[in-house]
């Protein structure tokens, strides 16, 4: 078995173990803790799904609230008007979000950089304006899923956990895949990637579709958790802005960045400071600026840098042994790698 394959399998085993821990939690922790974890996992899912296109793909989309809303509303509509079960609704929501992303990719991917960001935010605002006036989906009144059609607390938690882990696994697999390498090549230098035969638009399109599929899936779980949904809470820019902040703070383009960012923003800032809304808003802003200026790699970047320094010191101390002494230059100059 090749080293990359073994690494992938071990990584998947790690995520499977995390999922098992999470699936076993209901009934073993207090309801309040479970509720906090559920919301945290929803944010991990949203942030991780955005990280796929924003962090790994380098396309700063502000349109992802469309996919949260599409997923959530599809679940609600399928359950209320279609009479389907919530599981079919979740799948339908994810597929519709992916389809919407595929259609949107044609005009949006003609844009790049800041124009893509502006274009995607315009799409989000248009979708919100559409939804508050669309009578079929309840206009600004929204929809109320019957409580009897919603899974119970334990099942809901397990579904959210599975979806959050799925988003992490998806990103983890993408960054190790040849598709991921092409996506990152496009992110880092689109011209150079194109010169090597990579179809930049094609790669970005599939990344956007996959990201939207995952975001739609998470949006569906949001609807099942909220039960009562309306356009502003499902299609509002809050989703994408918060996800972006989480990914920036945690570490863009990394697998663990969105997880750490969701913990910092949702748990440490939102929940711990919920009685101090002004402090909360100020701290979020200051934190983002501080991270961008002082640690562009986010918390994960800082940890990796620290780990690399520690590993470097160990390597140097081993190299400073009797054998190393023989290969150092007469002037005693060594080569260090930061």
């Amino acid at each position: 078995m090749s080293v990359p394959t073994r690494r992938t399998l071990v990584g998947l085993a790690g995520w499977a173990a995390i999922l098992v821990v999470l699936v076993l939690l209901p009934g073993r922790v207090e309801r309040g803790t479970q509720e906090v974890l559920l919301n945290l996992l929803i944010w991990v899912g949203v942030a991780q799904a955005w990280n796929l296109i924003g962090g790994v793909g380098g396309q700063l989309s502000l349109g992802h609230s469309v996919f949260v809303g599409a997923g959530g509303y599809t679940v609600a509509m399928l359950v209320i008007k279609g009479g389907t079960g919530w599981a079919a609704g979740l799948l339908g929501g994810a597929l519709l979000a992916a389809l919407v992303a595929w259609v949107l990719s044609f005009p949006l991917l003609r844009l790049s950089g800041v124009y893509f960001t502006i274009g995607s935010s315009a799409v989000a605002l248009m979708a919100l304006a559409w939804m508050v006036t669309w009578e079929w989906t309840g206009e600004s009144r929204g929809l109320n899923i019957p409580l009897e059609a919603v899974p119970d607390r334990a099942v809901k938690f397990r579904v959210v956990a599975a979806v959050a882990v799925l988003t992490c696994v998806a990103v983890s697999l993408v960054v190790r895949s040849s598709f991921g390498l092409r996506l990152m090549a496009v992110r880092d230098d689109e011209g150079a990637a194109a010169a090597l035969g990579v179809s930049a638009v094609g790669v970005k399109r599939w990344a956007l579709v996959l990201s939207a599929f995952l975001t739609g899936l998470v949006g569906g779980t949001v609807a099942l958790n909220q039960v009562s949904i309306e356009p502003n809470s499902m299609f509002g820019l809050k989703w994408v802005v918060t996800a972006l902040v989480m990914v920036v703070i945690g570490g863009m383009g990394t697998v663990w960045g969105p997880v750490v960012g969701a913990f910092v923003v949702y748990y440490l800032l939102d929940r711990s400071l919920e009685d101090q809304p002004v402090v909360q808003a100020l701290l979020s802003g200051v934190l983002v600026i501080a991270v961008i200026v002082a640690a562009p790699g986010g918390v994960v970047g800082l940890v990796e840098a620290a780990a690399a320094r520690v590993a470097g010191r160990r390597t140097r101390s081993r190299a400073a042994g009797p054998t190393a002494a023989k290969i150092t230059s007469p002037a005693g100059e060594g080569v260090t790698h930061g």
């Binding site: 073994r6 690494r7 071990v10 990584g11 085993a13 790690g14 995520w15 173990a17 995390i18 821990v21 999470l22 939690l25 922790v29 207090e30 309801r31 309040g32 803790t33 479970q34 509720e35 906090v36 974890l37 919301n39 945290l40 304006a129 508050v132 006036t133 206009e139 600004s140 009144r141 109320n144 019957p146 409580l147 009897e148 919603v150 958790n225 909220q226 039960v227 009562s228 949904i229 309306e230 502003n232 809470s233 809050k238 663990w256 913990f263 748990y267 929940r271 919920e274 009685d275 809304p277």
Partner: protein
């Protein structure tokens, strides 16, 4: 080897996170039966910030004062033991998503045995959904009851709503407008929220029987800033009665554009948007704006005047203070239910709450019906300076109805 280490580190980190959160989330439970001296926790999630932030402080004041009064009298009687009430307040930021998460947090983290609600269907409906799904009794004071009832076709199980009935409320606009001479033509401005849709339909439905004709209706989403085309059409229709169902920021924008386009109807009703703090948002244009009210000194309440007088310096002589009175009454209703239940068990409180019948409160006499609504009579109040004077019903009026609305009619 390196990869295995990473996987184990990931697993260890996630387990540690789970355990850390578990430690943070653990707390003591409050005793449910009689004999315990633990406080009885009531939780509320209020719009203290955001577009509906104007409504949060008076509601909070009402809840806090009622809790203080009950605790001052020794607490609430639970199965023969007096226990203090403890109120936990969280900010919903006027966001339905936050309403859901904070209401759940009040139940799960703060161990609230019952919830107290806030205002408007977009906030009260998700709040009530949490009450039903978590099976915790919850009562809300300031949400029109038909829109609230209509949001759950299967009927609410643990949630209750005490406020006016929109059918009666929409008649108030016509009955009060009868106090002055108009051409009986009506222009409606309604947003697409639950209450905007429901009340718009009711005004159209009830106008003919009341002797009025709806000659124009504008419908728009919440957050609309440019009303000029609607205002011009309303003006062209010649309607001398103008009724709007919009949120406060939209009402202020609408009034300013009515003034700039020279539309000055005889009676002008900003309704939900003109309830609290309208003169601060619309300035002198607010003079004469009329909205429905829900309390008068002589509506059969018990002790309401004292609560009203104690708060009108802070919240104004009008609906801000009426909101304090209404919220105060919700604590009285909940405390009465807890006492009759003889326990803080949510199911027992829920059963007692549903059986509330003819309870004297500072707001009015409260009787909860089988549909979990308690309907209080609607009135009409008009902005006159910084105060809101009750102008209808005539026998409970505290001032004279000014028409045409002076703020819009004034020159310059």
């Amino acid at each position: 080897m390196q990869t295995k280490k990473s996987a184990f580190a990931a697993l260890a980190a996630s387990t540690a996170l789970v355990l850390a959160l578990g430690a943070c989330g653990s707390g003591s439970d409050s005793g449910s039966g009689g004999g315990s001296s633990e406080p009885v926790v009531l939780g509320t999630t209020l719009p203290l910030t955001g577009p509906l932030g104007i409504f949060g402080p008076p509601i909070q004041a009402g809840y806090e004062q009622a809790v203080a009064a009950i605790n001052g009298a020794g607490g609430v009687d639970v199965g023969g033991t007096k226990r203090p009430l403890k109120l936990v307040v969280k900010d919903s930021k006027s966001d339905p998503t936050v309403v859901t998460s904070t209401a759940k947090s009040l139940i799960n983290d703060d161990k609230a045995v019952a919830l107290l609600g806030s205002v408007t269907p977009p906030l009260t409906i998700p709040f009530s959904v949490v009450a039903d799904s978590e099976q915790i009794p919850a009562i809300s004071p300031l949400t029109p009851t038909l829109a609230w009832k209509g949001a759950n076709a299967g009927g609410w199980k643990y949630a209750y709503d005490v406020f006016v009935d929109e059918t009666e409320q929409t008649l108030v606009n016509f009955k009060a407008s009868d106090l002055v001479e108009t051409n009986k033509k009506v222009a409606l401005f309604t947003d697409t929220e639950e209450d905007g849709k429901a009340m718009g339909a009711l005004w159209e439905q009830q106008a003919p029987a009341a002797g009025y004709t709806v000659v124009y209706r504008a419908e728009f989403p919440v957050g609309t800033t440019d009303f000029s085309q609607f205002v011009q059409k309303a003006k062209d229709s010649g309607a001398e009665v103008m009724i709007a169902q919009v949120i406060p920021p939209d009402a202020a924008a609408l009034w300013k554009q009515m003034k700039s386009l020279g539309y000055a109807p005889k009676t002008a009703w900003p309704e939900k948007g003109g309830t609290v703090g309208f003169p601060d948002a619309a300035g002198p244009l607010a003079e004469g704006a009329t909205v429905f009210g829900w309390w008068t000194p002589t509506n059969g309440n018990v002790g309401g005047q004292a609560v009203y007088d104690a708060n009108k310096a802070k919240f104004g002589d009008g609906l801000g203070t009426q909101a304090v009175v209404a919220s105060y009454a919700m604590v009285q209703v909940m405390a009465d239910a807890i006492t009759r239940a003889g326990s803080t068990d949510p199911d027992a409180i829920n059963k007692a709450l549903g059986a509330t019948n003819g309870l004297d409160t500072v707001w009015a006499k409260i009787t909860i019906g089988p549909d979990h609504r308690a309907v209080v009579p609607a009135t009409a109040v008009q902005w006159q300076g910084k105060n809101q004077v009750t102008v209808w019903p005539k026998e409970q009026a505290t001032g004279t109805f000014l028409a045409p609305a002076p703020g819009l009619a004034a020159q310059g």
